[in-house]
């Protein structure tokens, strides 16, 4: 197990290294130069004010989303319950967009955005609960209802955006999820929130492992199942809201990274929860590095400077492919 953690940590370091050198404008040699204390002012600015916060935000957001997904899947005992398909992410986007459009929150009051996203995420989850409350036994049904909830919330978001068209340009990046242009403010916004709730999730790891075994076993072991589940859901919504406020709705990370983590670290959450955080960080960071590299290559190939591939598009495509594999490989009886 320790070896797996070490391997993943090494992978994370490699991804981070690639991410630092992948962007446009600076060659790897220059990066090395700057890290050794050389380079001119512009290069130092690029590395320390743009690339480093971007890297940290990507790592943090990935970890948040992955932990949120694992907590949700364990608490609801539903392998298809990611924040994207339980209405939490679209709700959080709606909350953040609404708060920004109403002028309640801007980048000068960053905590308000997070709180609004949190409230929106809770609303989205509540909507799903209203819609699919009775069919909770069937995972795929819940996921399908989650898509419906996302459609409704997306409609409301669209309304808000069209009333406030000035916000559209910056918000579209939010809708797809990107780490483009993330600076230290975003990181300072993300890490305290993420730290608090990741620790909360870590404290809940034991009860969640029991919840995974079913309510009967959890009750027999002396766990107040309902209270634990409510706390876990709150924790998951808060983590998702933090990630959404920082980088936007990164597609499918919260749905599929937990599956990877459970496959690597087993179903005991006390081990797989930190594992999921690590895997999530690696996946988002690696995807971001890949997106930067490919947009650099595409820009030279197609000779158009404004072409950038947002990382959310990459994770969504990757996640869609993985989801297809999961759906196909699961025996058809489960669906």
């Amino acid at each position: 197990m320790t070896r797996r953690f070490t391997a993943l940590a090494a992978l994370a370091v490699v991804c981070a290294g690639v991410e630092v050198v992948a962007g446009r404008g600076m060659s790897p040699g220059v990066v090395w130069d700057v890290l050794n204390g050389g380079g001119d002012a512009t290069e130092r600015h690029i590395l320390f004010q743009l690339r480093l916060p971007r890297l940290l935000v990507a790592l943090g957001a990935g970890a948040c989303l992955a932990v949120a997904g694992l907590v949700l899947q364990s608490a609801l005992r539903n392998p298809l319950a990611g924040p994207e398909v339980t209405g939490v992410t679209p709700g959080a986007v709606l909350g953040a967009v609404t708060a920004t459009a109403l002028g309640l929150a801007g980048w000068d009051s960053p905590l308000a955005v997070v709180l609004a996203a949190c409230a929106g995420g809770c609303a989205g989850a509540a909507l799903l609960w209203l819609l699919a409350g009775r069919g909770r036994g069937d995972p795929a049904q819940t996921a399908v209802h989650g898509v419906l909830v996302s459609a409704v919330l997306g409609g409301i978001t669209a309304m808000v955006l069209l009333v406030e068209p000035g916000e559209l340009g910056s918000v579209v990046q939010w809708l797809v999820g990107t780490t483009e242009g993330r600076v230290w403010e975003h990181w300072h916004l993300l890490w305290p929130w993420a730290l608090v709730w990741v620790v909360a999730a870590w404290l809940l790891a034991g009860p969640l492992t029991l919840l995974r075994c079913g309510d009967d076993i959890a009750l027999a072991a002396g766990l107040a199942a309902r209270r634990a589940r409510t706390l876990a859901l709150l924790c998951a919504v808060a983590l998702t809201a933090g990630a959404v406020a920082a980088v936007g709705a990164l597609g499918f990370v919260g749905l599929l990274v937990p599956h990877l983590a459970v496959a690597v670290f087993g179903a005991d959450l006390r081990r797989s929860l930190p594992g999921a955080a690590l895997v999530g960080a690696v996946v988002v960071c690696g995807a971001d590095a890949a997106a930067q590299l490919s947009s650099r290559l595409l820009a030279t190939a197609l000779d158009s400077g404004r072409l950038t591939l947002p990382v959310g598009a990459l994770t969504a495509c990757l996640g869609a492919a993985l989801l297809l594999v999961v759906v196909r490989r699961t025996p058809s009886r489960t669906f």
């Binding site: 005992r77 539903n78 392998p79 298809l80 398909v85 036994g137 069937d138 995972p139 795929a140 049904q141 996921a143 399908v144 209802h145 898509v147 419906l148 459609a151 409704v152 997306g154 409609g155 409301i156 669209a158 309304m159 955006l161 069209l162 009333v163 068209p165 559209l168 340009g169 579209v172 797809v176 990107t178 995974r212 075994c213 079913g214 597609g251 459970v262 087993g266 179903a267 404004r306 072409l307 950038t308 591939l309 947002p310 959310g312 598009a313 990459l314 969504a316 495509c317 996640g319 869609a320 492919a321 989801l323 297809l324 759906v327 196909r328 025996p331 058809s332 009886r333 489960t334 669906f335």
Partner: protein
Amino acid sequence: MPAAADRAAAGGERPSGGARRWQPPLVVVLLAVFSFCALSLGTPYVPPHRLVAAVLDGDTTLAGIVVTELRVPRLLLALVAGACLGAAGLVLQEALRNPLAVPEMLGVSSGAALGVAAPLVLSLSLPAAVQPLLAIGGAALGGGLTLLVAGLGRSPSAVLLTGAAVAAALQAALLVLMVMADQLDLQLIYRYLLGSLSARTWEDVTGLWPWLLVAVPALVLCAPVLSVLRLGDEDAEALGVRAQRARLAALAIAVVLIAPVTAVCGPVAWVGFLAPHLSRWFDPSAGAVRWLPWSAAWGAVVVVVADVPARLALAPVETPAGAWTALLGVPAGVALMRSGGRRRAVRRGPAAPAAAREPLPGPRKTASGAADEVPHASASNHLRRDDPGCGGPGDTSAPPLRTTSAEDVR
């Protein structure tokens, strides 16, 4: 009416008879009221009694120009688009025997939107006639990919989840295009993607006719096949319908119906979900042949109704009609689906208590077991993978235990 009386005598379906009687007047009244609203409200306000005069005046007065050149084509477009989407939704739902198989869930809409938006962003100048073709290509790509990957209706939820994955991938491609676009293009694309009927002229309406000429005869031909498909794959094949081929044909018809509409006014979302459920709710005992025209009519009603608040709710700003249909359509459709299912179960209760939960359970189970001996070269592959309970999404209650126990072992 004698047929209805027979059915009422056989199954005790009196409560639905009342709803069925109200359907035609309700559709007509709603259409009339909201058509007058669409034609007369707005700036300039043209009172209903002056509408005829305004139309006759033609382009001599301001009101005449506004009505004949802007409001009438818009109303016609809403009617045609709604009817197409409603009919397509019914075709898809019946062919896949899945009450949630709507264009949005199968990747059809996203594919069509991608086909239209791509040349807009990449600033390729294309003749207007090519646009529907691109939309058709995209829609066929999305829908075909979903059905192929999901194994052609393997089980309802698997198809929907696959569709969600395909739609998400297509959406991601769209969002890449949107991030690339500059601010002005972005407004245009965003509006288009939500489905808007604003500023459409007679040209857009006339562009739809050729496609309708193709689609309507195909619809008429395929309606009886749909009602046979409803019986289940084995029974349909016993009656001489090649189920998989019929399903692909249904998808093709749905694509031909949806893509031109999407090319003109964007994916007006969830009309294909709400309209068939409305027609079913009003007349639960009829078959696909009877539902098809009513589904088209309800689709037209839904789009016309949604277009009025879209135009007027936030007066100087036009909101997209697609956002309204999504907002109203999804909750209403889910509620209808729920109540419709409950009513059907209640009604079936006294007549056949054993079969109340699961439509066609017994014969299909045995049939799928015996099907391997039957020389169905093309279909046996599908049958072996097919689970016996793909009649509806409500019949998978026990299995989840299995996955979780597997996880525990791990």
